[in-house]
Structure formats: structure tokens, C-alpha cells
Amino acid sequence: MIYVTRRAEFSASHYYHNPALSPDENRRLFGKCNNPHGHGHNYTLEVTVAGEVDPVTGMVLDLKDLKQLLESEVMELMDHRFLNEEVPVFRTVIPTTENIAIEIWRRLAPKLTLGQLHRIRLYETPDLYVDYYGD
């Protein structure tokens, strides 16, 4: 088994707010991340696919295909967007880094034709990242 990782970068804005809670509770829970006008990050995404090396091509999958998949499923949807307002799933799900990683997994996993999605690693800043293994 070989693990192949492709990295991609996108920039987006978001804010944390749970409409089921009061403004005070939101402010206490999320602090400055609750600012309703949002704030932004440069996200770094690492997508890891696990699979066997094809004896003919010497590859697990064509990285060009993976790049195109990231482009259509992640970049076109999230890059330079206000996640809360412009990405439908985040109208009802808080776009925390955890939830963005889970959403990216859900979009990519069924679309991979070669290999299996192993891990989504999403950096919100160089000092903070989330790993999701589909559990």
C-alpha cells in the first residue's frame, strides 16, 4: 500500500455562529470568530489517497486527475468565497476547520476511481490543522 498526497491552497472567509444560541452565548463560545462580517484564512489542504501501485503505470492514480477533482470539488466551491453565505452546506453547518475537512472528505471520497481516500488534512494557519480519516 502506498500513500499519495496532493497539496492545494485556497483562501476563504468565514465566521462562527450557531443560530440556536443567543448572541451572548455565541460571543462567549466563539470569541472574535463570531464577528458577523467574517474573517479570512489561507487554507492549505492535503489530500492523501491510499492504493496499490499499478504495475503498468507505476502509479496509484493519475495526479492530474486528482488535481482536477480538487479543482472541481473544492477550489471552484470554496476558493475566494465567504463560506457561510456562498457554500450551501455551511448555511446550516458551522464552517469550522473540522467541518470544512469533513465536507471535503464527503465530496471527494465517492468521486475517486482509483485508490481510496485516506486522510484530509486542512491547515487553517501554519500552526493549526485538522485531520479527518472518515471516522
Binding site: 464552517p95 473540522e98 500552526d127 493549526l128 490543522y129 485531520d131 471516522d135
Partner: protein, 159 residues
């Protein structure tokens, strides 16, 4: 509930000397080389703390970073930042402050602190990764008796 693994990076600087008083001066010099220099030397350590747990459906988060930052500040920074590990800490009065031992000590301190917060709600310390230099790092995931999937990894290059 989906389970996510959250990693946060911290930095601290400290001095240490690798020396085992049970061994002779020659044995120490042979074993630890220039790390045995009696005046000690220092590193900029980079600490990565990983916690694992269910994503809270109310907050969308695994764990409150403010709480994690406070635990790391209290348990790690106050003890180990800008000190001489051998001379200024209780942890290493009788133990060699190799980065392996420091990594395990930080794991044990944070694991106990996380359990004691009462705010962890199913969140567990999963891994401590400690860089001594950019090309030299150690990982500890707990002892077999306390962790479901124990694994200890270390890379050991030049000191």
C-alpha cells in the same frame, strides 16, 4: 458524530545538557559527544499537540482552543520555556533531558491536565510531537496500558 484530529503548534526555547551521573566522565563524553558540554546548550523546540474526539454538533469543534492554549501555557510553557531543563525543572533533576524524555514528560503532563479539566467531553490527547531542530523530531502516543493504539516513533539524527 464524526471524529476529527486537531493539531496545534507551539514554540519554546530551553537549554539542556545530556549527562548521566551514573556514568563516568569518559562514558558520558563518549555517549553524548558535544551534548555533554558541562555548560549546556539550547534549542528552539517546536511542540505539536494533537487531540482527538467527536466534532461537537453545537460548536462544530473538537475542542476549545482557548482551553488547549491555557493547558499548554500552564503545563509546558511555564515549566520549560526559557529555562535550563537540568537545573531549573523538577522533571529533570534526576533524569536526562533528552528530547525523547521531554516529549514523554510533556505527554504525561498534558494527558493528566486534559483529564482534570472536566471540559474534555470525550476528547483525548492523541500525540505529542517535539522538534528539537527542524531535522530532528520525536513522537509519543502514550504507553500501551493507557492508549488503545500505542505507537512510539523517533528519528535520531545529529544532536
Amino acid at each position: 458524530m464524526p471524529v476529527a484530529h486537531l493539531t496545534r503548534r507551539y514554540r519554546f526555547a530551553a537549554a539542556h545538557r545530556l549527562h548521566n551521573s551514573a556514568l563516568s566522565a569518559d562514558q558520558n563524553a563518549h555517549l553524548y559527544g558535544k551534548c555533554n558540554n558541562p555548560y549546556g546548550h539550547g534549542h528552539n523546540y517546536v511542540l505539536e499537540v494533537t487531540v482527538v474526539g467527536p466534532v461537537d454538533p453545537i460548536t462544530g469543534m473538537v475542542f476549545d482552543l482557548v482551553v488547549l492554549d491555557e493547558l499548554v501555557r500552564r503545563e509546558v510553557m511555564e515549566r520549560f520555556d526559557h529555562v535550563h531543563l537540568n537545573l531549573d525543572t523538577e522533571s529533570f533533576r534526576s533524569r536526562v533531558p533528552t528530547t525523547e524524555n521531554l516529549c514523554v514528560e510533556i505527554y504525561n503532563l498534558l494527558e493528566a491536565a486534559l483529564r482534570d479539566t472536566g471540559r474534555a467531553r470525550g476528547v483525548q490527547l492523541e500525540r505529542v510531537r517535539l522538534e528539537e531542530t527542524p531535522s530532528n523530531f520525536f513522537e509519543f502516543q502514550g504507553e500501551p496500558s493507557t492508549a488503545p493504539q500505542p505507537r512510539q516513533e523517533a528519528t535520531h539524527g545529529e544532536v
